[in-house]
Symmetry: C2
Subunit: 421 residues, 2 copies
Amino acid sequence: MAGRSPRDMLGRQGLTPVAEASSILMAKLADFRPGSEITALATCLDRVVAREITSLEDLPPWPRSTMDGYAVRAADTFGASSSMPGYLDIKGEVLMGGMPQGTVDKGCCMKIPTGGLAPDGSDAVVMLEHTVAVDEKMIEVVKGVGSGQNLIARGEDVARGQKIFDPGHRLRPQDLGLLAGLGIKELELFCPVRVGILSTGDEIVPWHEDPPAGKIRDINSITLAALATREHTVVKDYGIAPDSFDGFLSVMEKATAENDVVLFSGGSSVGMRDLGERVIETMGNPGILVHGVALKPGKPIIIGLHDKTVLFGLPGHPVSAMVCFELFVKQAIKKLSGLAVSGLPAPTVTARLSRNINSAAGRLDLIRVRLKKLEGYIVAEPVLGKSGAMSTLARADGFFFIEEPLQGLSQDDCVEVHLFK
Amino acid sequence: MAGRSPRDMLGRQGLTPVAEASSILMAKLADFRPGSEITALATCLDRVVAREITSLEDLPPWPRSTMDGYAVRAADTFGASSSMPGYLDIKGEVLMGGMPQGTVDKGCCMKIPTGGLAPDGSDAVVMLEHTVAVDEKMIEVVKGVGSGQNLIARGEDVARGQKIFDPGHRLRPQDLGLLAGLGIKELELFCPVRVGILSTGDEIVPWHEDPPAGKIRDINSITLAALATREHTVVKDYGIAPDSFDGFLSVMEKATAENDVVLFSGGSSVGMRDLGERVIETMGNPGILVHGVALKPGKPIIIGLHDKTVLFGLPGHPVSAMVCFELFVKQAIKKLSGLAVSGLPAPTVTARLSRNINSAAGRLDLIRVRLKKLEGYIVAEPVLGKSGAMSTLARADGFFFIEEPLQGLSQDDCVEVHLFK
């Protein structure tokens, strides 16, 4: 089994470095290609393009003015200045939304609004500001224009046959606008990723129930569901699975059959971790890929695969579970959603660390911080607390990493903070 | 009318600097307070807290172990080491999800899983790794623990009566988790901002229709609707308003009565700008706040207010309309949604500019860029093109600003790029 190290005396495996764990997972997903579906444009926001889109039209379909002014033959205005104006006869007016009535002959012009269609014969627009009305029939041009000036040519925005979007592009608001402008009313998109979520653990009850003595409410399901929703997935909650091997296996098999990604969490104890591990191994095909990563918080994650469904056994501590989502689940979702890999860094806020902070060498540490604005710079204050303490995440604005080789960072060191959305 | 400069010879007003335009608008909105509503937790993602939330419970409700090991009296383990182990009698086992059966007396311990409730008498947990089983009834402790170690105390995450969130906080996935953990099933949130969108212009037809000769499809409505949706608003589309004063006024009055923000766009020509201006002035109370800003693209924006509804006359060019949304509409929506102002900068990607780029002094320029990853750094390539060209936005990954005092930037200058979401 790739990436697994020998078990230690407690039956635990050695820890896989985060980058290696990520590579093991992504290598297994390399050939996955999501299904696609034809989708109406109005519902395409944040969806991912499945098939290259090319334009069937020119945009704009006719040359249009980008200024209020007069459509002219540029050659008629060459050298015009306020001391040496050019004189042009007004042959009419282009109305918005209408086809121009008439053509612009030599020595003539037509009044035109921004967005108006350039009449035949014209090849430029003189801005209103650069003309002086002589009378109703004639203007002085006090500044010449070059050919094409103040016009957007037919097909200048997008030419017919031009490629608009590659497969793997996530559609943003402006992309919908462009597609609308080109008359593309539906398109082939990758199907959204389906994420199944279940919790385990004798000690937890659904969050909307009142826990009897000794039990606590499930925090992870609602958090993970919201995180997955943010990634534009379709989420299904499978509730709290029984702690027995057979009971847990049966819910896992159902969730795995119905989803592209399954997240289970709650098994922080050795017993529950073992249960999760045994279930994934039993399901097999291929089974466990990674068990335990050199990450704090988030160490006890299990990453598995069953056929084409990625299985994540997330730590029971909610902070650890969220960190694992951020580092591994998000990446898998992006891949399964068909998104092209940009290789670009995530945007960050640069801040100065408020205090020294230690880290063990060989381990990636994710430090939650609260940001404060001081005069001229931003300070990142680490939010300390146990990884079982959900309030540390609620108090934090974001996080930064202490990379594996480092044993810590010092006060006033610059850190790149990823903000929680 | 605050912020309006005298009209020039074409009847246009002087341009207001962007920061001043923003201040004029925000000053008018200073006292606005959105309505609130009681909302079920499951639907609270991205909503804004209207009333301070305090906890009615301790989290966790009982001290819990954060490790697999043995619940002990810390004093019994002081000084224990592998050469001088401490010996403890195993008095039983804490089961997950159950109340501990028995107490930990001096010289005794109980086996406990991660998440198990610490039994009475115990004040720390020795990790399994730091024990050696002597037999079924006794362990050696090979490393001592301090009081409280490997436990999360009752109320250590959140204490009863503790404030969790201030009004103005937008609820993120981890915040839902914390609220769920505390048994908060519904809460008082600000009502979502309602945004009405209409387009104007004789030349445009709805994007889903095929335009007759001389007309083009409406690009702005679908783009603005998607941008507003991203800001967690409720969007209503009022279609394409008639170009006549009475017709336009009537749609505007309806949209204004039904929304907190109204966006109209399409009037890039002087005639349409005048129409928008006249309608807002006629509606009054107070009417136009800003008309024209020193911004490229986006100059011809009109910002108005009618009673408690903010009115934006956005430029007809889709690029300009989107830039105005980014700079002004978003800010108004955030304020009207009740969001607290963080004062923190937006996250950015630092990049090197690929070429020299000019800007007029006294004007804020927003430059669209495409990012490319080179070895060791990121390059920002300006996406040039007319502001009527929607494809420039579709090709861009984000944008940076050239501030008013500057006349441009040089190749290899560092810029802070805001990514399009």
